[in-house]
Symmetry: C2
DNA sequence: ACAATAGTGTCTATGAGACAATATGGT
DNA sequence: ACCATATTGTCTCATAGACACTATTGT
């Protein structure tokens, strides 16, 4: 069968004598742009033998065992190649593997999801931001990338209910109303100002800088993330409606 | 380099021309035995060319692309082969892949974790239950399985704080004190009886059966899981001590 | 003064923690 | 009656939700 591959080394062991699935890494890259949650997608190449030519897909590709020490390094590399961003929030999302997801044969992908500041990125020409509306992407994606993206959106929304993840979507300095706006964009529902402030301030995750944001109204205190870059977990979720 | 493998099909595409990592699936199988959280481990074979001969390891092995439709099916197969259990709680844990984790070459494993009722299982001769003490396994494991197991324990404990996962470790019929005991075993700390009962009963996840458990004291109401087998998520965690 | 947004306070509801009180079987 | 465990109730505390109120800037 075309595409099947058998190991040639370690001939004494029967165990290596298995056809090996294709191994890829894909990255779901989120950012806030234009007051919307957006995801970075690329257009599939059109070469002969390429599956899903010209379709939209998650940035990703084969693990390069000569260059990638491990899966996370491979995901970071792909992120950097597409956006130039080097120190994002990067978390493993899960893996998807089956006989049918790639027409070239049995394949498994290791999916990551990243939160970055779009302003700090410079995209390659094949990449662009697409908005998430009503918790979904309108466009169809190649492979099972639609499913992977849906899973990433669900995970992001879920975690935003009880963690400080949106902090990774913020510039270095931001105000509390800025941060609340990002929470609201991701969750797609308004939050109570008072409860929000109490929660964030008591979480000990941000600290004020000696500056204010000025505008045509009362100035707002600017904050920055505290040094430790681990996300904070709250003991309660925001009470979801129903 | 021995063990490297290149694709032979789809010659028109440069993309398939990558050495393929080894692809495996490993399963962390938990159960409650002897009032302790235990994990099912197997002994590595001793054949020539086998890495970590006779070491303890997680049950798992290569994906068999001829038999396994997808990764979850592969995990379910491995669970069934070792325990005979066919409908457990089975959740993907994550994946681990690097150049160094397997001496045979660049490899990636897809890890799953399962909760089963040990009484309902019949082990193969190479498998046995090992207790988790103080949140850790005392024994060293082959490959990076120690790290994978630690991650599974952390995930389990974390989720038990705010979900109904322990219900999958229970027999078909159980009492509320039984269930509380399992929560306490996994979390390794006592829970308040009253708060526990309120939470579980208001979660609408169990229903009483028309029987009582009798003993040398007041009988306890027997319950069973409601039909829908999805785990329940609580909006608050049990308040962890500090 | 007024508009606009930042930030605080007050009141209520919910659910956990602590722990006491009561219930119901076996012996 | 007494023991052991199941089950319920009471009181307090923390925090979210609702929403009103005050504060501080530019115009």
């Amino acid at each position: 069968m075309a595409g099947e591959v058998r190991a040639q080394g370690a001939v004494k062991s029967g165990q290596l004598d298995f056809p090996r699935p294709l191994t890829t890494v894909d990255v779901v890259i989120f950012s806030i742009l234009d007051d919307k949650l957006q995801v970075l997608l690329v257009q599939r190449p059109a070469g002969e033998g390429e599956p899903f030519p010209l379709s939209l897909a998650l940035p990703g590709g084969f693990v390069d065992i000569a260059r990638d020490r491990d899966l996370a390094a491979c995901a970071a590399r792909k992120l950097k190649e597409k956006t130039g961003v080097t120190s994002p929030y990067l978390e493993q999302l899960g893996s998807w593997g089956s006989a049918s997801r790639d027409p070239r044969g049995w394949s498994a992908t290791h999916a990551y999801f990243a939160l970055i500041l779009a302003d700090a990125s410079t995209l390659t020409s094949d990449a662009r931001w697409l908005p998430i509306r009503d918790g979904k992407l309108r466009e169809k994606l190649a492979f099972d990338h639609g499913e992977i993206l849906a899973s990433a959106i669900q995970r992001l929304r879920n975690k935003v209910e009880y963690t400080s993840l949106p902090a990774y979507l913020m510039p270095a300095e931001f105000t509390l109303p800025d941060l609340q706006r990002v929470y609201e964009i991701v969750l797609d529902r308004p939050l109570e100002k008072s409860a929000f402030r109490t929660r964030i301030l008591s979480a000990d995750m941000i600290e004020p800088v000696a500056k204010m944001r000025r505008g045509p109204n009362r100035p707002a205190q600017l904050y920055r993330l505290k040094k430790n870059s681990e996300p904070v977990y709250f003991v309660r979720t925001f009470n979801p409606p129903e």
